[in-house]
Symmetry: C2
Amino acid sequence: MITITAFERSPDGGKGLARDTRVRWALEEVGQPYEVRGVSFAELKQPAHLALHPFGQIPTFEDGELALFESGAIVFHLAQRYPGLLPTEPNARARAITWMFAALNSVEPPILDLFTARVLEADKPWAKDRLALVEQRLRDRLSQLSARVGDAEWLDGAFSAGDLMMVSVLLRARPSGILGEFGNLAAYVARGEARPAYQRAFQAQHAYNTR
Amino acid sequence: MITITAFERSPDGGKGLARDTRVRWALEEVGQPYEVRGVSFAELKQPAHLALHPFGQIPTFEDGELALFESGAIVFHLAQRYPGLLPTEPNARARAITWMFAALNSVEPPILDLFTARVLEADKPWAKDRLALVEQRLRDRLSQLSARVGDAEWLDGAFSAGDLMMVSVLLRARPSGILGEFGNLAAYVARGEARPAYQRAFQAQHAYNTR
């Protein structure tokens, strides 16, 4: 049985923004059952968890003798191992994988910077002035993405692990209101959320975090 | 013939820190010849280049009908397509890929934050006070990585695309002096640099940027 880790209680209270949600979504898309092991904030930094995840975060993934960390790596593993999340034609497959990397490396960092500016550095004297700068960087990046997405349904042909990751990342920009400034990206995210597999994943993490 | 893009002149003047170096390195490891097309800063933001790279960056990769962007995706494509950069045993392969994602998502962002704090925000009133915070975050992350690496030669058994990416990312932390605070990581990076394929890649980008 596949076992993943999640926050014992997600800081977002079950809004689906913690990174276990994207792994749950991938598991639902490929139809694999899984168990969840909750990890407290104290346990994240203890040797037992650090052996699974050197950076003391969630999610992790265990399946028999295989143990993985990093949500991108876990979703990619599932997409390689089971059908449904990557095209079989080699070039289309390489492009879908490119969008996974793009979501994680070019889109998620400016979104996380917003969290840093708004939350981690909220009490700093520069908080307000710097926030405007960080928000502008995020707008610049989303503007580029919006131009590429246009009115396409998904990033490159059929729904893929690239879309799963991009939608998951973009969802984290929605509470700021900045996602909503880009109508086509907001609609793209809504298409992702409407997928039955996403709905099952969302409900599962919501039930877990409000148990 | 494979064609990649690089800065027409890298801002680092050929120190190997631009992201084409990691792609050159992967191409050298798998023994594939390639051509380089230089892109000026003005061209990066023009439609012809944006069609290849929606975020207006380098490197890109073209091989026949296939066009990719994102250094992680390009290195991964090469590692999948040619032998030499990923183990064949499935679990070892999944772990090596995990380190690629870890390098790009958990280690490179705090290193790029240092660049943001030191260069992009150097003229801001908060520059000095905030730099200490950003440096501490990077130390915390490298400390976790250092604990995991220990005295191992490579991250997980034989040298892999995971090491190629981690070494490439860590090299960007060296000019700050912070990499040098972690002796085992500095030695790990030096082992990467000593590989003949890295040496060829470094020389090629150096010659290109000093032509």
